[in-house]
């Protein structure tokens, strides 16, 4: 039997992006229903490291979104604390800063050029010499050719952050429903009138496709495909350790790996500790569809690259490994805006490995666009109808 339900907006996907969109929309007064085909915050949001980074982004629209988001995160956490209390708003926010390390001489030039361009875009980026870098991170390799300190880089626990935002949606009269799969839209006169979820239909004025790497699937089911593809990543987790690394420390070639479009495996060391003492070792990039098979070669290369930055890790036991799929777009920019094919269908996905950091500004931008307010950042480059992203309807 089908239930008759209504909401102002239905957000498909209860990951960090869907949660941030739902939070921003409910803060503007809408009644929001969030549905997810699995457990809330159980997909890509649970498969990463909780990066809130400016350091890995070259000047451009993504950096603008990241700067706005970095400003919004602490404000949002503070407002969630005021609204929901300490317990729910505890998201392990750590403004720990980042240290980008070039271990080879030929990486010095590109790192210096990037840092200079970022400084001109308003990012704090300070070149530090090898001795200073090793004072900041005493376990760091002796082979430091150059390093740049980014004090604004931060980290949080993404599952806690997503669930805190979803709790706010609920407390404002909205709802969150897991294990409910969206199958398509109900369209009347070219405009969204509802969404088919599970066995029933939910009447609503707008639908947000926030399905992360599965945004292409829902888009296709809705008759509005978008070019969002999965890009696999793996993370190694060490046993809890005494203090080894203070900041987010990564190799200078990480920026190039993030920006590349290679299908083949790419590995670049990203090392950081968590609140519980474990050290997370990323990062890998591979386009293998939704193949979840664990590849020992990936883990081996992750471990090797991390030991190159922190030799002390060579003798440390690895407790487990996990992985996930980043939502990848061919031009490496998120998709945020209304679909040109159906009024009332909105997209918020394609953030690749940066969704945690970009979430609050994405939610704010989506709400600004929906309400016709002055947007928090220029939305032009995130448009759904750009050639790299808009996919043709396959009949």
């Amino acid at each position: 039997m089908s239930r008759i339900e209504t909401a102002d907006v239905v957000v498909i996907g209860a990951g960090i992006i869907g949660a941030a969109c739902a939070e921003a929309l409910s803060a503007s007064g809408m009644r929001v229903l969030v549905v997810d085909r699995g457990a809330p915050a159980g997909g890509t949001t649970a498969g990463g490291e909780g990066n809130v980074l400016l350091s890995d982004k070259a000047p451009g629209p993504e950096l603008d979104l990241a700067v706005a988001s970095r400003r919004l995160w602490p404000e949002l956490i503070e407002s969630l604390r005021a609204e929901l209390g300490d317990e729910i708003a505890r998201v392990e926010w750590e403004p720990k800063g980042g240290l980008v390390v070039a271990t080879e001489n030929d990486a010095r030039g590109p790192l210096a050029i990037l840092a200079e361009a970022q400084r001109r875009a308003g990012v704090q980026a300070t070149a530090v010499d090898a001795a200073t870098a090793r004072e900041m991170e005493p376990h760091l390799t002796e082979h430091v050719a150059a390093a740049v300190h980014y004090p604004e880089d931060a980290q949080l626990q993404p599952v806690l952050a997503a669930t805190a935002m979803l709790a706010a949606v609920r407390s404002r009269g909205g709802d969150v429903r897991g294990w409910s799969e969206a199958h398509g839209l109900v369209v009347v006169n070219g405009k969204v009138a509802g969404v088919r979820v599970g066995e029933g239909t939910i009447a609503c004025g707008a639908v947000v496709n926030a399905c992360g790497p599965w945004a292409g699937h829902f888009g296709a089911a809705a008759g509005a495909p978008v070019e969002v593809l999965p890009r696999r990543g793996m993370v190694l987790v060490t046993a809890p350790l005494p203090h080894v690394v203070s900041r987010k420390v990564y190799a200078a070639d990480y920026v190039a790996a993030v920006a590349s479009s290679d299908v083949d495996l790419q590995v670049s060391a990203v090392v950081e500790s968590t609140a519980t003492g474990t050290v997370l070792i990323g990062s890998s990039r591979q386009r293998v569809g939704f193949d979840e098979a664990l590849q020992v070669e990936v883990l081996r290369r992750l471990a090797r690259s991390a030991v190159k930055l922190f030799p002390v890790l060579a003798g440390v036991p690895v407790m487990r490994a996990y992985g996930g799929f980043r939502p990848y777009t061919p031009d490496h920019l998120p998709v945020i805006g209304e679909d040109p094919r159906f009024r009332g269908l909105w997209h918020a996905s394609g953030h690749e490995g940066a969704g945690i950091g970009l979430a609050p500004a994405t939610g704010r931008l989506l709400a600004d666009l929906m309400y016709g307010r002055a947007p928090v950042v220029d939305p032009t480059r995130f448009r759904v109808d750009r050639p790299a992203v808009i996919a043709e309807v396959r009949t």
């Binding site: 046993a239 809890p240 005494p242 002390v312 440390v316 036991p317």
Partner: protein, 85 residues
Amino acid sequence: MRVLFDGEEFEAEEGQTVAGVLLAKGVRSWRTTRGAGRPRGLFCGIGVCFDCLVNVNGVPDVRACQRVVADGDDIRTQTGAELPS
């Protein structure tokens, strides 16, 4: 064979685990927790819970229930989280 536990010599049988040797000698705790320094020893006994961690020959975080002893092993109580020495 013989192994050392915190400097004291213990007799051990071929094929025994570190946990087996220690329990046979009445030792029930060989690690302290990272936060409050509470005692820990064998819990699940099958390699799943990572509660029975101990330092063997300078390597921390060894599961006492899985590690089979070798003659001359230097087993030490692990204090919180340790780095390899």
